[in-house]
Amino acid sequence: MNTKNAIQVENLTKTFGAFTAVNNISFHVGKGEVFGFLGANGAGKTTAMKMLIGILKPSSGNALVANFDIATQADSVKKSIGYMSQRFSLYNDLTIKENITFFGGIYGLNKADIKTKTHALIDDLGLHDEANKLVGALPLGWKQKVAFSVSLLHDPQIIFLDEPTGGVDPITRRQFWEMIYREADKGKTIFVTTHYMDEAEYCNRVSIMVEGKIEALDTPKNLKTTYNADSMDQVFLKLARNLA
């Protein structure tokens, strides 16, 4: 199975005892695409994503991420991806600079690289005054922006974002999406889960998961036509309600 796609998923399934969290899903994400991975709470999004980032073993089926098999080449997958989780993933008791040094270091960047990247990141985000402040003291929106930038330090081809804008104000959310688009323009693939349906509109293509299955997958425009809806919000509600 070799593919030009960034992510290629075939019949991926995860069961926990009698419960099937992810039920035989198949899809692909093209290189440079912004792919929205939607679903209600408990629909199986996070489980699916954990398998794709190589921290959860699939029960059956397979998937290639950056052309590496997630079950057998997890470490190669991890080198090629960036990940930012819904739970805040930087160290609150370290400063912005120290977090950058640490994550850069464990991705194997050398000292000079870390230095350059630290400067570039702080410049980009305009955080000169905050660079030596503890991350725990920053507002949530800033933390998320820093976390996103940190997940890009090792220049990954694919970036997984698990509800990156949860709890963040609308202005920061817009800025955050601008950052996402900048990376997509550089050719990076973005795989993002969200509960905000307006954000779903920003994606090239969107999949909607309901009870462990992918019920719909298309561009936001086509989805609205298919489900005869004005907004992604309505598409989501129709799908989630009909099957609930």
């Binding site: 991890k78 989780s85 040094t101």
Partner: protein, 373 residues
Amino acid sequence: MNIIRYIIQKEFRQIFRNKAMLPIIFIMPLIQLIILSNAASFEVKNIKFGYIDNDRTSSSRELIENFNASTYFNVLTDFSSSKQAKSAMLNGDVDVVLEIPRHFNRNLIKEKKTDLSVTINAIDGAAAGVENVYVNQIVERFNANTKVQLIQLGTAGVQPQIIDTIPLFWYNETLNYKTFMVPGILVLLVTMITLFLSGMNVVREKEIGTLEQINVTPIKKHQFIIGKLFPFLILGLLLLTVGLIIAKILFHIPIVGSIFLMYGYTVIYILVILGIGLFISNFTDTQQQAMFIAWFFMVIFILMSGLFTPVESMPQWAQILTEANPIKYFVQVMRMVMLKGAGFSDILPQFAKTLLYAFAMNGLAVMSYKKFT
């Protein structure tokens, strides 16, 4: 190698940034060392002593005077009846009651034989045993003196055979309990701090969610674990150093053996403890769980270490269990090297077992740490 360096750097930053944790790591153990070393003593002193003198002769008074002269006994009460003595013992006013019978003096001289009754409060069995020995020593000495006096008076023709023993206490000549306890207590403190810190460290990252972020990086398991454990090894050695300085300056504990040997062994020992701590944190989800499990092992390890009660007097099955007790080996090694000046060949059995233990625990810790579930 570089990756490990970055983890170590981050751990040290976090440890030294945590203003609540630093005193816990350094000040608390030292306070414990100072308090426990002074308090944890098995010496039985200031025994509350009472007597009933039914004889009231020079002999009986001389015997009581012998108790009075002893540093172990506080002669408190002269009871008029055994009933009175009994109620005093019930109230806890007196630990040991000596009853001198009527005609004590007469029997001693005429029949060269008499009885004494000694009653000891044995709620604390160990103390009662020691008190019994002290009482016997004083009575024997009194008896020996009596014999000598009798000879001088010429009433006895035969030379009595009195064998006097002069004990020599090696390695702790003055029988100072602190000399015995301080190395052991130091062992406990180093163990507690390193076990609790390592046991809770990884769990803490699980709780915060940063462990997931680490697991998404290509970092190798052994890199992560070495990077996590190394800072605690350094902290443990630092604690040992401060503890030894206090032992030397404050308690004047002799350090006869090689400091190098002590540190060399301690490094391996701390690795065992860190392996146990990490193993615990791999199987727990919260710091609370990790803390309770760490305590469970800690209590068993301490009470079965031979620090407070000799391993030799434990039942057979318990002695076998202590083979798996790392604290036992550390206490033995510290006492041997510090007080006896033992060399490497003397501590080889403990050294070998601890090394094996370190490999086993850290192997288990690395195996049970799952980046991929």
